[in-house]
Symmetry: C2
Subunit: 232 residues, 2 copies
DNA sequence: TTGTGACTGATTTGTCGTATTTGGTCATAT
DNA sequence: ATATGACCAAATACGACAAATCAGTCACAA
C-alpha cells in the first residue's frame, strides 16, 4: 500500500489546502501551513501525497468529482432539469458555488502560481472540451434543436461559464449583477433559443444525462491514472 | 496651439503605435521604436503628444471612435441590423476585427503593461458599462422583449464579448471554433431568445441606434476632456 | 516656424553574494 | 505500525551596487 488509508484525515488535509490555495495561492501556501490548518504534522501529509504537486492534483480531482456530483444532483432535483436551460443553470450554480473550481476554470494565475509552470501539469494534458460531448448527446436526445452546430453551442456555453467566473477581472465588482440573476438569465435565454419547436423531451434529457455523467467520470479517472503512470 | 496640426503624421504615428503596442506591449515598445516605424523623428512625436501615456490614450481614443463608427456602419448596411441579434453580431465583428480594441477589452496585461499602474488611467476612470444604456433603449424601442431585466442582458452581452476576445487564455487556439461561426451563433441565439413575440421593429431599432451612437460619442468626448483637465 | 537627434537624469534591469524559507526525508517516539 | 518534527539541500527572497535603457528636453538645423 502506497498511501495512508486514513480517509478522514486526508479529507481534512484537502479541506485545509482548498482554503489556503484559494486565499493565498499555490506559491504562498506552504506545506507547513496546510499541516497546521489541518491539525496534522507535516510528515502525515507525506503519508497521503508524494509531493506538494500531487497534493494539489489530489485536490483538483476531489473538487472536480464533487463539482460533477453537485450539478448532477441539482439537475436531478430540478423539475426543469431536463431542458437545456435547466441543466446548464445548475452546472453554473455548481461552478459558481466552488471558489476553487472557479479559480481553476479561469486559470487564475494568482491561485495557480508555479503549478502552471510544471512541465506536465493538469492543464497541459487536458485536451478537448468535455462540454462538446455534453451538447452533442443532448442534441441527439432531442433536448436541443437540430439546426445548429453543437460545437458552437458548446463553445458559447464555455464563454458564458468563463464570463461568470472571470468578469471581475475587467469590471469593478459593484457593476456586476448578482450571480444568481445572471445564471437565471442565461438559463432563460438558452431555453428560448435552443429548445426544439416540439418543446423538447424533459425526461429523455434527464435520462441521457446520467449516462453522460457516468462516462465523464470514467474518462476523468482514466486521465487521472494516466497521470500517475507518467514519469515525473 | 498646443499640438501640431499635421494630421496625416499624427495618424502615421498612431498606426505605428497600434502595431507595436499590440505586438510587443506597452512596456517593451519605446518611443524611439514608434518614431522609427512611423518614419518620423522622436521630437516630432512630442509635437503631437505630451508623453508616452498621452500617446497611448490618444490611440485609445482613436481606436474607440473607429470601432464605434465601424459597427454603426456595419449595422446600417445590414438588412437585419435592426434586430438585437443583427446589431450585436456587428458589434462583435467590429470588436473582433481590431486587435487593439480586443486587447483593451480583455485588459490584456501583456499589452497594457505599466500603463495599468498609472494612478489615473483610462480604466480607472471609466465607471459604468455603456452596454446597459444600449440594451435599455433597444428595449424601449421594442427591439427586445419587455419581460427581462436589461441589466442582466447587458451583462450577458459583456460576458460574450469577453469570451470572444479572451477564451484563448484558457483554451488552446486549436479548440476554439472560427470567430465568425461563433458570432453568427451568438446572433442566432440572441434573436431567438430576445426578439419580442410580435417580431420586433427592425426600422425603429435602426433609428434609435443612431441616437444612441451620437449620445455615446458625446459622452466619450466629454470623458476625454475631463481627463485632460485632470492634473497629472 | 517646424523638425531633428544627441544628450541627460531618472528609472529599470542585471548581477552577485548572503540570508531566509520551504519541500521533502528520516531517525526517533508513541 | 503509525506519526512526528528536527534536519538538510535546494529554491527563493533580499540588498547593494553597476550597467543599460529610455522618456523627455533642447540647442541647433532646415
Amino acid at each position: 500500500m502506497e498511501k495512508s488509508d486514513n480517509e478522514e484525515r486526508e479529507q481534512r488535509i484537502l479541506d485545509a489546502a482548498a482554503d489556503l490555495f484559494v486565499h493565498y495561492g499555490y506559491d504562498k501556501t506552504t506545506v507547513d501551513d496546510i499541516a497546521r490548518q489541518a491539525g496534522v504534522s507535516k510528515g502525515a501529509i507525506y503519508l497521503h501525497f508524494k509531493s506538494k504537486d500531487e497534493l494539489f492534483e489530489g485536490l483538483l480531482v476531489r473538487e472536480t468529482m464533487v463539482y460533477h456530483e453537485k450539478w448532477l444532483q441539482l439537475i436531478d432535483a430540478d423539475p426543469k432539469g431536463g431542458t437545456i436551460g435547466g441543466m446548464y443553470k445548475n452546472v453554473l450554480y455548481a461552478l459558481n458555488s466552488s471558489p476553487f473550481m472557479s479559480a481553476m476554470f479561469r486559470r487564475d494565475g494568482r491561485v495557480l502560481g508555479n503549478y502552471l509552470r510544471k512541465p506536465n501539469n493538469f492543464f497541459r494534458r487536458q485536451n478537448q472540451s468535455t462540454r462538446y460531448e455534453f451538447v452533442k448527446m443532448m442534441q441527439d436526445a432531442g433536448a436541443i434543436r437540430q439546426d445548429i452546430d453543437p460545437k458552437i453551442i458548446a463553445h458559447i456555453m464555455n464563454m458564458l461559464a468563463y464570463g461568470l467566473v472571470a468578469m471581475d477581472e475587467i469590471m469593478a465588482a459593484e457593476f456586476i449583477p448578482p450571480a444568481d440573476d445572471v445564471i437565471e438569465g442565461i438559463a432563460e435565454i438558452m431555453d428560448r433559443a435552443l429548445t426544439p419547436d416540439d418543446g423538447g423531451n424533459n425526461e429523455a434529457g434527464k435520462a441521457i444525462l446520467r449516462q453522460i455523467s457516468e462516462a465523464g467520470r470514467q474518462q476523468f479517472e482514466q486521465m487521472n491514472n494516466q497521470n500517475e503512470r507518467e514519469p515525473k
